[in-house]
Symmetry: C2
Subunit: 462 residues, 2 copies
Amino acid sequence: MTANNRPENDLTAAASPRNLRIAIAGLGTVGTGVLHLLETNRAIVAARAGCDIDVVAVSARERHKDRGVDISACAWEDDMTALAARDDVDVVVELVGGSDGPALALSRAALDGGKGFVTANKAMIAHHGMELAERAEATNAPMRFEAAVAGGIPVVKGLREGASANALAKVYGILNGTCNYVLSKMEATGADFDDTLEEAKKLGYAEADPTFDVEGIDAAHKLSILSAIAFGARIDFDAVHVTGISRVRAADIAQADALGFVIRLIAQADVEHADGSGVGDALLQRVRPCLVARGHPLAAIDGPTNAVVAEGNYSGRLLFQGAGAGDGPTASAVVADLIDIARAFRSGGGASREAEAPFSIPVAQLTPMRAAEPGNRMERTYLRFTVRDRPGVLAEITAAMRDADVSIESLIQQGRKRDGGEVLVAIATHEGPEANVRRALDLLEGSDSLTGEPLVLPILPN
Amino acid sequence: MTANNRPENDLTAAASPRNLRIAIAGLGTVGTGVLHLLETNRAIVAARAGCDIDVVAVSARERHKDRGVDISACAWEDDMTALAARDDVDVVVELVGGSDGPALALSRAALDGGKGFVTANKAMIAHHGMELAERAEATNAPMRFEAAVAGGIPVVKGLREGASANALAKVYGILNGTCNYVLSKMEATGADFDDTLEEAKKLGYAEADPTFDVEGIDAAHKLSILSAIAFGARIDFDAVHVTGISRVRAADIAQADALGFVIRLIAQADVEHADGSGVGDALLQRVRPCLVARGHPLAAIDGPTNAVVAEGNYSGRLLFQGAGAGDGPTASAVVADLIDIARAFRSGGGASREAEAPFSIPVAQLTPMRAAEPGNRMERTYLRFTVRDRPGVLAEITAAMRDADVSIESLIQQGRKRDGGEVLVAIATHEGPEANVRRALDLLEGSDSLTGEPLVLPILPN
């Protein structure tokens, strides 16, 4: 890596190839991964970018830490926001994390100064993506965030550009590697949630505090970003309905298996088109553990892999699959963004060129979609009750289903008693309005036949 | 669709949004699909392109044919090459097909005239892609061909841009929907090749003359294009080793199944890096029916679906999956290319902007890689012999294996006699040099124990 100390921003001369000069804030695993990649793949990156990509400045918490890469040729800034003020920097790469605080301050400063901007920060984009994109559009700064969704999988580009000719009916997928690791591991071993999560922590597949992952927040961040790109909607993270995986038991996975399903944490967004124009007016975003039929492409996704399905009205079903996290895959996405920016700089006469809108459509033209009511959809549902082992319990449950117009497709009462005489009843329903299931549960509310809150999981359509 | 008759090419005014004016040559299923898409998704396409995309002129064999779309507002050219000469056309879309002849003449004329150029023509790109890209670079014309590979799957973009930061070790996948339909159908029904192919013709999954598909030529066209993009190599279609699926029998699929595999036509390219720099110097491109272990993502690809796997040194394994053919998916890819071109025109000041090189790296900088020798690789192999039902045959075959240093992992001799006393022997080998298998077959050459030429299929590594 060589520093490049040309003083002024002379990108306007399109004909003369020049380096793209970047600054990196944050040298954790991803930041270090980016440095590694730029060093290892230097020739390839230069050939594809049309110029070298040079790291001219960095900022991180600890200056003198052995990261296995030489940063001695890079300028150092103690205050990361100062990276945005440097005249020798074309693009600021934010790899600090956190939705607010220093990361947000740096991002604003970079974009307001017209610098190119690349980030892997899903929480920040989910919460402040609209504001940041507006700043980018105001100063004509290129802004990219491929690494914020699904790690190394180029799914932001895939939807934003690859599927751009389509009205997308829905986008859904497996967006959290920790949850997918835990669920597919539970499936393979028969172990319960807590034990599997502990093991995942030991193996580095889960953070010490895994709340954001296992409660679905991380997947919700990513989903809200994908929704904006897929549907031309404003990001609306607060409208995502989120249920995590911590209530899924080994017994649920076993019942699902008996019914021909696996359980996966599915992030799904779809739009309601009131007028059939292809422009949606209501958006439903949900992160939920779902039963996925074997044979569905998402059922085969094991371990920390991510996958995204998009259904376009011309493309049909597209699937993008790969590593959803990790320093290498995330660095791959960050540098792909840098190469895109370098190509545009080179080919369009540098900063004089109009940058593409970060969400493909300018923020002012994105649709502020209202949040759709979840209860309106038709779904098949899996319900699991824990009940007392006494006569009449099944009759009580099935009567509630009948009275709420819920049609039962299959029912398994687990013969083996659990501790304390508790018995499991698992039901898969035919397709019907979600609201009916809710009504059936209301009818059973307070029944002393039930020993705990029922678990309700949707069955993903094929 | 409205015609737009502004006379001169006034794309240089970046600030004023303007329509992108296209001409379409060829109104078969794909051409008609593009017209449909542009009509149905007009609002979405305009929002993402930043301007309307208007079809101002068309050319096809029959002028007055009911295509279900209104082309009365479009100018008509009897001679398709005349489309390239029209001042009111910004981009020519070639959907005629054929590697030479009128399609090639039109493409040359469009690019030499500095028009944008979009094609779905894999045969033409495989044979003349380098020449056409050079013409595009000479006149600074944008040239795109997403639809030429894997239909609606944005895999050209995925490799060219999404995986651009990576040294790719190999790219492989299922690139021909007809073959995949036939093989997965044979698997599901137990029927033999000829019957299944006849059925595929009736259902529209195979052409009346399916030679190009079943003999692997179509997949080879696509593979040669993917290789160029993945490895920064010059296209070298003639170097692709091609074996089709016509020799695969129902019995092979059954044996593979017994061994834990399915059979798929796999197109695969990989490079040998002599110096470890990530820049390859020898390229091996092969299209072959392979045994694919259940559990491998490609084993689950059924019917006419396509899928491409790319393995990057940072991204890890990426998979792109979707519909590999059909009017809708192909139109989706064609219009995505048009939207890309429209964005660049709009944002970069129209034709004054330097267009990106069609293969991402200018043709002059692509590596002319030598064709690697296939015999050098280590592989597991499946061998199927048809033999006479008499003593000593197994001893003869296994002795040849031993003498050629081929290690047998499993062997199945099919007990049930086939017509004429013919017996099947299927062998899966341990990993070893391909050349040894070839040597074992040479040792058996001319043996009158064998009643037909052995079938040799590689086993795809996991």
